[in-house]
């Protein structure tokens, strides 16, 4: 699952044209029509130097339905944002979760699959032959459709779903299709042809609903790597991706963070396993994917200390920053101490921190950690952060799910947010993050990626301030 794909293209470039590339232009330049898999590659190991500035996507999310309490997420986060479909989303929440938890690969399973792909295809997954990967996608689709047949009928969600379809079916699809939909309401198991009909390219879900719940649910059941691959296809377009107008050179996604606020149950894939799967993906993406690692000062993760997990991810596994959900320890002294330890370490090691918009609380904490690279998501914040606060606005997370295909999301308008990601993350030569990445590439025999080569060319990019003066 990727969320917020391509919504924020953070640009550092010599020409302001690229720097101010709008979302509409981005799509207009040929990326709106996405070929799902198959043609180009992703994360080619042979770098091509971009002929323009570096584009860094800092708004994507990569996860599948095993990584979070999906039902609570849909009810508590997604449904309120879509009041017109809230009842349907709420009713579908448990369906989506059950399907995802039953069908989606766990972090461990995905790591094994990626190990296997790497063994057979070598690092970088350079893409002369995609048949094997296509089979993963086809198998995921097959399983999803088969599961729908037996798990949808009888649910409140399916009743509402059919109601939604039936209201416009006769006028749009004709009498025969409407009757076919009406018959589905009474069955205990759907036929394969009926599921194919619902989800087909000309099917009623596409034709009649402004949201596409079953398409969305399907995406939650995918391997994470399939979504990343699709993300690169969508935002890069060709092997290496960087030569095409609008291509994204580096994706810095968040992964599903700690979801304790969503409910008390553990997710099938614990955070530590999710990070391992992502770490494997990082090595296979040849320097084009470097995620942020979540930290929760209020929880131990899988019996491991949260800070140790973060340090391991950043120092050894190619993660380039940390996401925080709150600057507060919620009154817990141990949590406060844990947070202070993280921030001190991040300041010392120049690790970027991306956090929730609670600027006052952050400003107070920053007084104790001068030099910390801290970006808060913009949220409702306007303008610039208070002078001298040390805060940086502009890294944002857009909480919208893809309803079906990545292209759906790309077709939407959305704010172009984010600025100076290269500086913020510390990707320029001589910065600590950059040094960690270089060591990481050496260890994994990854050729320096195109964005890195381009950054090192004289005259590329603007003068980027260091951590002493965060960019606004």
């Amino acid at each position: 699952m990727t969320e917020g794909v391509g919504q924020g293209v953070s640009v550092t470039a010599p020409g302001r044209d690229d720097a101010s590339l709008s979302r509409r232009r981005f799509l207009a330049q040929g990326l709106g029509g996405i070929t799902v898999l198959g043609l180009g590659g992703w994360a080619a190991s042979r770098p091509r130097r971009p002929r323009r500035g570096i584009r860094v996507d800092v708004l994507s999310r990569v996860f599948n339905g095993q990584d979070l309490q999906l039902a609570s997420f849909l009810i508590g986060v997604v449904a309120p944002g879509r009041p017109d479909h809230a009842a349907l989303i709420r009713a579908g929440a448990n369906v989506a979760q059950a399907l995802a938890w039953a069908l989606a690969p766990s972090g461990a399973t995905e790591t094994w699959r990626l190990d296997e792909l790497a063994r057979r295809r070598g690092p970088g997954l350079a893409t002369s032959d995609d048949r094997e990967i296509l089979r993963d996608r086809e198998e995921a689709d097959r399983r999803f459709l088969e599961a729908l047949r037996v798990m949808l009928p009888g649910t409140e969600f399916f009743r509402l779903y059919l109601d939604g379809l039936l209201s416009g079916a006769r006028a749009t699809l004709g009498r025969v299709a409407a009757a076919r939909l009406a018959r589905m309401a009474g069955v205990s198991v759907l036929g394969r042809d009926e599921v194919d009909f619902l989800l087909g390219p000309e099917g009623p879900e596409r034709a009649l609903l402004s949201i596409r719940p079953l398409h969305a649910f399907r995406r939650y059941t995918y391997y994470r790597y399939l979504s990343v691959r699709e993300l690169f296809e969508a935002t890069g377009g060709a092997p290496g991706g960087v030569d095409l107008p609008g291509g994204v050179d580096l994706v810095v996604p968040t992964v599903a963070g700690f979801d304790g606020r969503l409910g008390s149950r553990a997710t099938p894939t614990p955070p530590g396993d999710q990070l391992l799967a992502m770490a494997r993906l990082v090595t296979l993406c040849g320097g084009r994917l470097h995620p942020l690692v979540p930290f929760d000062q209020c929880r131990q993760t899988d019996g491991r200390d949260s800070l140790a997990l973060v340090q391991d991810a950043v120092e050894r596994r190619g993660f380039v920053g940390v996401t925080l959900s709150s600057p507060l320890g919620q009154g817990n002294a141990s949590a406060d101490g844990s947070l202070r330890a993280l921030l001190a370490w991040c300041a010392r090691e120049e690790v970027a921190v991306v956090a929730e918009p609670e600027p006052e609380a952050w400003s107070r904490l920053l007084a104790f950690h001068p030099g910390l690279r801290l970006g808060v998501r913009r949220g409702g914040l306007e303008g610039s952060p208070p002078r001298g606060s040390g805060l940086m606005y502009g890294i944002d997370w857009i909480r919208r799910s893809i309803q079906g295909e990545v292209s759906d999301l790309l077709r939407r308008d959305g704010p172009v947010l984010g600025d100076d990601a290269v500086a913020f993350l510390g990707l320029r030569k001589g910065r600590r993050t950059r040094e960690r990445l270089e060591r990481f590439y050496d260890r994994h025999r990854i050729t320096a990626p195109a964005w890195m080569l381009a950054l090192d060319e004289p005259g590329t990019g603007r003068g980027i301030p260091g951590p002493e003066r965060p960019t606004v």
């Binding site: 979070l68 309490q69 039902a71 609570s72 997420f73 009810i75 508590g76 986060v77 309120p80 448990n94 369906v95 979760q97 059950a98 399907l99 938890w101 039953a102 069908l103 766990s106 972090g107 461990a108 399973t109 790591t111 094994w112 399983r143 088969e146 599961a147 047949r149 037996v150 798990m151 009928p153 009888g154 649910t155 409140e156 399916f158 205990s188 198991v189 599903a256 963070g257 979801d259 606020r261 969503l262 409910g263 008390s264 149950r265 553990a266 997710t267 099938p268 614990p270 530590g272 396993d273 391992l276 899988d302 019996g303 491991r304 959900s325 929730e356 909480r399």
Partner: protein
Amino acid sequence: MNARGRGARAPDRTDETETVRALIDAFRPPGCPVSVDAATRRALDFLAGFRASGSPRVNTLDTSLAVLGLVVAGTGGNRDRVRRRLTAVESSLPLLRDLARFAQRLATVVIYATLDDSGRPSAAQALGYDIFQDRARGGAPAVPPEPRLPLDVIVGPSDPVPDDIYDVVVVGSGAAGSVLAARLTGHGRTVALVEAGDYVPERYDAATAARPRPHDELDNLLRYYKDAGMQPADGDSRLFVLQGQCLGGSSVINNAVCFRMPDHVRSVWAREFGAGWATSRRLDDAYDRIAGELRIAPATSAVPDGWINPSARFLASGAKALGWERSLQPCAVNVEACLGCGYCNLACAYLRKRTVLQTMLPAAAATGRLRIFVGRRAREIIVRTTAYRAEGVVVEPTRGGGDRRVIRGRRVVVAAGAVGSSALLGRTTALAPLALPIGERFSFNFVSPVHAEYETPVRAFDGLQMGHYYVEDLPRDGFVIETWFSPPATQSLALPGWMDDLQANMERYAHYACASPLVGSTAGSKVDTRFTPEQIWIQLAGEDLEKLKRGLLRTCELFFNSTPAPRRVLINALKNWSLTPDTYRDRITALDSFGEIQISTAHPQGGNCLSADGRGVVRPDFRVHHTRALYVVDASVFPTSVAVNPHWTVMAMADLAAGHIAGD
């Protein structure tokens, strides 16, 4: 993902109650004397107990129940609708089929293990089963006087950890750990023994109300088994890996059968892995010492009144008819004055099984040099990175809720079993630079029980659970056939069929004889210690399937040639499981993959392969390669499966290893 103030509602335990009730109702046989309410309460108690156990596998259970919650959603709890939906799921994808089968297993086990007001499993009794105390000889069986562990030896999970430095810290109190404790204290060493499971002293006292009920299958699963018997293998979600987790480990819950390592396996270990001791007289001497302490003897003499699993009678007559009677032998067992209650796997509540609790541990405690830390899980080994010298172990309460503590020692021995030892070494980050193949070469013995149904009741539950074995040429055939029978809840897991078919098969419970081929797997599986909890990836080879098929064929052959002849024979396949003399060959031969037949294991081995060269994690003297003062001694060091019950071999090996460790 911040849902604050947005009315997020997670699925709660109310949903779970409804799910469990619907499942119980769906799988409960018509006319079952256990009510849906009673079984639901029992199931919820069991789930609560499991969650409180601190098992890291709770996640898996929660996920399964959440998905099953959707399956029964929208049915209004209507039994027929739930059954239709479950059947649709069962006939769907293998993944969903396994989930439906898991629901059936859980519900069926609970139904047959639910006790009525008199403490009896009434659904099981309706099948012709009676608990031991209701049998003629079970009136008031005496609990033999046993040497008890002095309480001052035991340090509970909430007790302070003394700031001592021990000569040796041993992690795991099972077959290997307890022998090591006894031998090392005997050599004058002080020993800290760390056990993740509990000590259950009340089991020794027949008079106390807190004494576990001998026949209470669910309660005993929670008390004595790792993950309450639900440790899944992730390469095959239908396979659970059974291991003990209590003071005494698997030696408390095994079937009490004892085998020496077969000669061909000993040769391979010595020749290919440099374990010269495997073919030496020293190992035989160690076997003999253990035999003396556990009083290992043939079942026919260890069970004075002949209360041995009656299944052997039918195997014997079949073997005789075929002229192979010399291949059927009584097992060597570590029981004494056995009552034949059939509760070996439930920790032998009448204390006739000679376990480490009655032998090695009291002997070690008597030296005054043993301290036992129970209810604490070892998180990581403290290893000094400069010289890779082990200096202690970080422990934490197994059930959570406490701080981590350090138990320091001059040497550390890991003896936590094939899965646990690999996991502990894998979690020890200081060892990572050594790039040891931790978790690799994992193997196991697996079984797939065969039931033969006879016209008149066999009452195979009434006797020692496992009394005889059949073997012709182990290196050639690759299997041993063992008799086996359990109380109804556990036995239901070994019977084939979905819904009505399983219920019909369970109704004939008292009419079955049962035996199973046991196959030692190839060593292609793995304990993957990168994850939390560790993942067991099962990778079986074509030759494993061929051995199982040969074993199934021979077992069927023996039963079909028995006198009287059985009405039919059942194998635990997904379909075509009811066999006749005319069909069994074709149907077994047609088995094409392990996806078509249920297998189970209680004998995990390997993961920390012993080898003189770089293929291994430990050297032939049990020290971890390139380290100092760090050893592994348990079934995890087996470079190949031993293809028979490994219990005695583990103990003998620990006896040998103690000499290395004490003198190192």
